[in-house]
Symmetry: C2
Subunit: 233 residues, 2 copies
DNA sequence: ATAATTATTATGTAGCTACATATTAATGTC
DNA sequence: GACATTAATATGTAGCTACATAATAATTAT
């Protein structure tokens, strides 16, 4: 086939998606089999396969062997979140990044922290509190526990100069990550640290990471008032 | 090649990822070219290609034509959020879903709403306020504007029986969606509607959808106290 | 020397074949 | 009729080839 009238898989995807958008196929409807679509649209099955895989990843269609492809009966919103390291986030906003270590200790992790790792037995960990600044003003307050069994090297890192966030991300990649978002009211201490009114509503991002089955770290990042999180694109 | 000693692309991906996790390749490092990896691991280039595409989608490596592949110099956390329709979310929690229409009017959208659509000129839209319930208790309070130019059919839907959320999702698929999360303090009215303490910190999800360039709807969903949003697996 | 042009090269894509896998449908057995 | 077995079928995957594309490196022209 002449290369210039081949169809790209993104075109095929968009045409199938278009047929869903314009109502040709509605939620729950079954789509033709890949081979028929390929023939109808004048491309190879592998091209349809790629298009379908993308639509499937996006949560638009559901595919089952032998069962065929159907438009998701109960659509959902699927979005991708990119969370860079805090320093980069601040710099991308065009602000000057600052960092301040507030507290560092070795302590037995409370049960609530163990629970985030799905562990019952409490263990001694490194506990760090730090403040990230944007243009000299508080930006994110982080409360972190690092598992010293998994990451003993962290004990010899000078965390007053480099945030644990940054060190970990460059030295201990994770294989699994859980994220959680919720809102809290600033108590007196948090209000003071973040320069917020006591009782102010603040967005919290909680992140826990593992390498294989070994826990690495868990952070509770309390954002400054007015902070917004949004999806890319 | 005998089928039973072929390597699957997920295996290849995991081996490459493993080499990154164990420090063989560190952030910023360049990886060998696909063909060399293929030869080394005993598979076809297309298999490496698929593995790399996955690692690239996950934000672990960066690929450039001719430039080759390198481990992302500045790692980020990339996560996928699934937000089902509220009814389903409630039912999946094992609760009984309820719904209540609070307010319905045709009105000129305020500038703040127009801004979410990136539109300057204010226009008449359908404004709906509704409450989603879980086990008879308030769960999510939604404040929605629907563009009647794009979705005129919405005007003849009985929104006291079916939520706009549900009708739209089954009848007007979108091609683009913006999401935004932040925290607010409950004012007197919201506190009353959501059965929350005045001043309570609440997580808000704001969602705006389009079909092609035409605006469909924008919602501000205020969640009940204690609501948490998390990433799938 | 600098700029414009031309290779070179690694990834990206399209198409092909062959077979694996999961599931449903059909068939046979008790 | 209920249950186990077998066949049929749509998607999933691995490997192959050929070429497209983009970015860099080398070369030539000014």
């Amino acid at each position: 086939m002449p290369a210039d009238l081949r169809h790209s898989w993104t075109d095929i995807r968009d045409r199938i998606h278009g047929a869903i958008l314009n109502g040709t196929y509605r939620p729950g409807d079954k789509l033709p089999r890949d081979e028929d679509i390929a023939q109808q649209m004048g491309c190879a099955r592998s091209t349809v396969q790629r298009a379908m895989r993308d639509l499937s990843d996006a949560g638009i269609v559901e595919r089952k062997r032998k069962g065929g492809t159907q438009v998701r009966a109960d659509p959902l919103t699927r979005a991708t979140l990119d969370i860079p390291i805090t320093r980069r986030e601040v710099e991308q906003r065009g602000s000057v990044y600052g960092y301040q270590l507030l507290h560092r200790e070795i302590a037995v992790a409370p049960l609530s922290v163990g629970a985030r790792f799905a562990r019952r037995d409490p263990s001694r960990m490194l506990h760090v509190e730090a403040l990230h600044l944007a243009d000299q003003r508080p930006y994110i307050l982080e409360d972190r526990w690092v598992c010293t069994d998994t990451v003993p090297e962290i004990l010899s890192v000078d965390l007053s100069r480099q945030s644990a966030n940054e060190w970990l991300v460059h030295n201990k990649p994770y294989s699994r990550c859980d994220l959680r978002f919720y809102a809290i009211e600033a108590d007196a201490r948090i209000a003071r640290q973040l320069d917020a009114a006591p009782g102010a509503a603040l967005l919290v991002m909680e992140r826990t990471t593992w390498i294989e089955d070994a826990p690495i770290t868990t952070v509770r990042a309390v954002t400054r008032p007015g902070y917004q999180l949004f999806t890319r694109s």
